[in-house]
């Protein structure tokens, strides 16, 4: 008998901890996988090549080229975002 039992305090049992942890992680991972699902396999290499092209002109970081594929109604939309910082813009003017 533990101190908790003697004091009449009910501890949360390990199975309910497991249940709570699983609910959170599974929901999180499902959302992440859903975002990837249906995305064509070529997205990572497309992103890499675009990065190389842009880098000929502007020095940007890997995460500045964002690319995603979405289904909107019947249309598939390929969305491409290249965010430039103030420093990048100066680069652009110099070139």
């Amino acid at each position: 008998m533990s101190l908790f039992d003697l004091l009449g305090i009910k501890q949360k049992n390990s199975a309910s901890k497991a249940r709570e942890r699983l609910k959170i992680i599974v929901a999180h991972e499902r959302a992440a996988n859903q975002a990837q699902m249906g995305a064509p396999d070529y997205l990572p290499s497309l992103q890499q090549e675009l990065l190389e092209v842009v880098r000929k002109y502007v020095d940007i970081a890997d995460d500045q080229v964002k690319i995603s594929m979405e289904k909107r109604n019947e249309l598939e939309v390929l969305e491409l975002n290249i965010a430039l910082t103030e420093a990048d813009k100066n680069d652009l003017n110099e070139n």
Partner: protein, 269 residues
Amino acid sequence: MSTVIVVTSGKGGVGKTTTSAAFATALALRGHSTVVVDFDVGLRNLDLIMGCERRVVYDFINVINEEGNLNQALIKDKRVENLYILPASQTRDKSALTQVGVTRVMEALKERFEYIVCDSPAGIEHGAQMAMYFADVALIVTNPEVSSVRDSDRIIGMLASKTLRAEQSLDPVKEHLIISRYVPGRVNKGDMLSADDVQDILAIPLLGVVPESDAVLKASNEGVPVTFQEDSDAGQAYHDITARFVGEDRPQRFIQEQKGFFSRLFHHP
């Protein structure tokens, strides 16, 4: 019309091969012509669990590479009519499972068998993807334990995207949950996830629960699928699971503690 069933889990060691062997045997015992196929190329074990390891001459990869034909590779079970085993190769790796080759073998099996049970390797890589690709139905084997449940959820996601049915926008793969190594007493004490908990998290229908059982180790020791131990709890659980699978109504006997009934049944002098 034949049905392709994948037995899968993501995590290793949860009971995929035990389930494949026991379920395929139970189907055959009910009179259905059944083949159980080992997709675990490089780590074959289905032959050992089925007790036919010394009868393997040609294997799945030999058939894919046309080094032998399907009839040479299929091993007929000696205990039950209508049951065949297609062993995996022990010397090759999973890349030998080419899509074209697997398609050809599956088409040939569909000509001959009512049920094709595919024993998936662990993991989510090529071997596991090939095992699930042609599935009409999936048996997802899960232990009531966090890592197994999480991995099963990952596999369920893949069934919805990386199968022929998903690619061709056919009806989705039908999913059934099997919870194995279940200990009702520990669930009651709050030390183990309950069948309800697991079902609730994975959100797929429960086909059955297989209790943690000495019979499973005994079965693998002897190379006799646990289904043949008709008086064991695990053996009965697999008979129940198979009966439900083919549409019979059976009560879930193994979710609750079986103390009275089973101690009377098994421990009488």
